[in-house]
């Protein structure tokens, strides 16, 4: 089934969320796609608790508060969110609409695409060792999709955050788990930490102090992980290594869409914030133009101007009458009806 909307927004960070609002004011409907499991982008993923001081009228606001408020502001326009997935492909249809396909095989068609992808998609941070390609496909899991392949196996989980601790606790039920971290302190939820320590006490989980030094491929489908602690190196033979070193941002498939790029940023004009491909727009940290500042505030401005141009693509026969939210009865009805 192919879903249909007016505009597809790629990225549910602050600028993508505000774009829903600006487009909504012009009666333009939106679907929003994001690779994270929640809206908010960097604000929610990297610094939910850190205060931001340069949002107009907000003396101080945390990343999470800003996200929550933007979600509430966008809500009256009934956006549809597609989370936990990345846009893999875009193609022009005969109807002149864009067909967008995601990594979860969702298909959506729309008249415009708005790229509000910040510094790209959040993806697991990979081990910076060379020649890992072969092993990465077979023995290194940066995410657990299918638990059953791990049953009865020897696993080495690396990291000290929530993912590392949660998977250590969970997988200890079905596999031989060793958790490795560079110190015996963890920045995970206290509950998960005490559970892990309890499992270690009962010898259900082993803990290893150290860091990944090197990885070698073995012939028996296993890998040898060399673990370094201070200057001492030990080696471990395991079936799978599960490294959880947080997330990093990557431009990903967007790089292959034929847009004019400059150092991994998308070039736009400063009137419409349209890319080199008509009806594809780029707003927020992902775009570049002379004088660009990577501020949330700039992204908000870009969203408003982008929406004006999207209107022409979405309603080519209608006249766009400029209205203020303070005075338009029509807008009040829309904003208060949710």
């Amino acid at each position: 089934m192919i879903e249909k909307t007016d505009v597809i927004i790629i990225g549910a960070g602050p600028v993508g969320l505000f774009a829903i609002f600006e487009l909504g004011l012009l009666n333009i409907s939106c679907h929003v796609i994001d690779n994270l499991d929640k809206p908010g982008g960097q604000c929610a993923e990297l610094y939910p608790e850190k205060p931001i001081y340069d949002i107009p009228s907000r003396v101080s606001i945390t990343g999470q508060q800003l996200t929550d408020d933007l979600l509430a502001q966008a809500k009256p326009f009934k956006p549809v969110y597609h989370l936990n997935q990345q846009v893999e492909k875009i193609a022009k249809m005969e109807t002149n609409e864009w067909l967008v396909e995601t990594s979860l095989n969702n298909k959506i068609r729309a008249k415009c695409i708005v790229i509000a992808a910040g510094a790209g998609s959040f993806v697991p941070r990979k081990i910076p060792l060379e020649n890992l390609d072969l092993i990465e496909e077979k023995n290194i899991l940066y995410a657990v999709r299918n638990k059953s392949i791990l049953e009865g196996k020897d696993l080495l989980i690396a990291g000290g955050g929530d993912s590392a601790l949660d998977w250590t606790n969970e997988l200890s039920k079905i596999a031989n788990v060793t958790l490795m971290h560079r110190r015996k302190e963890f920045r995970a939820a206290p509950d998960s930490v005490s559970k892990m320590l309890e499992l270690e006490k009962n010898k259900k989980v082993s803990f290893l102090l150290g860091q990944i030094h090197n990885i070698e491929n073995l012939k028996n489908n296993k890998i040898k992980v060399l673990v370094k602690n201070n200057d001492e190196i030990q080696s471990f033979e395991v079936d799978y290594l599960l490294p959880f070193f947080g997330l990093k941002m990557e431009l990903g498939p967007i790089a292959n869409w034929g847009l004019n790029l400059m150092e991994n940023l998308i070039k736009v004009d400063t009137e419409k914030f349209e890319t080199s491909v008509p009806s594809i727009f780029a707003i927020g940290d992902i775009n570049t133009y002379p004088g660009k500042l990577k501020l949330i505030l700039s992204g908000f401005h870009e969203a408003a101007l982008m929406a004006q141009e999207c209107f022409k693509y979405c309603f080519p026969d209608k006249k766009n009458v400029f209205r203020y939210t303070t005075s338009s009865k029509d807008l009040h009805k829309k904003l208060n009806s949710s």
Binding site: Q42, Y47, I127, R187, F245, G246, K248
Partner: protein, 102 residues
């Protein structure tokens, strides 16, 4: 003030520092491939550097936040720091460091 940097390929650079900046800002603006994804609020670990032993004690020690973020970095050593958490001062004129692998 001078900052002496060894990049990921082993090349040496001498950068002009500024006591009003953080070390990360100088490295980033010199295009030394420091990602600094979070912009300097100690919320990622993409500005990881190794400080030369002799300079380490002149820098204010790591706080818990920085220690926690270093958990996401690879090959963390005793000399590891996140460069966004190091405010430059004239005392650090000549500081030597190496950019960690990413």
């Amino acid at each position: 003030m001078k900052i002496r940097v060894i990049d990921r390929d082993g090349n040496k650079h001498e950068l002009e520092g500024d006591p009003n900046s953080t070390l990360m800002e100088i490295l980033r603006d010199a295009d030394l491939d420091i990602e600094a994804a979070c912009g300097g609020c100690c919320a990622c670990a993409t500005c990881h550097v190794y400080i030369n032993d002799q300079w380490l004690e002149k820098i204010s020690p790591k706080d818990d936040d920085e220690e926690s973020m270093l958990d996401q970095a690879f090959d963390v050593r005793n000399t590891s720091r996140l460069s966004c958490q190091i405010s430059l001062s004239d005392e650090l004129d000549g500081i030597e460091l190496e950019i960690a692998k990413e």
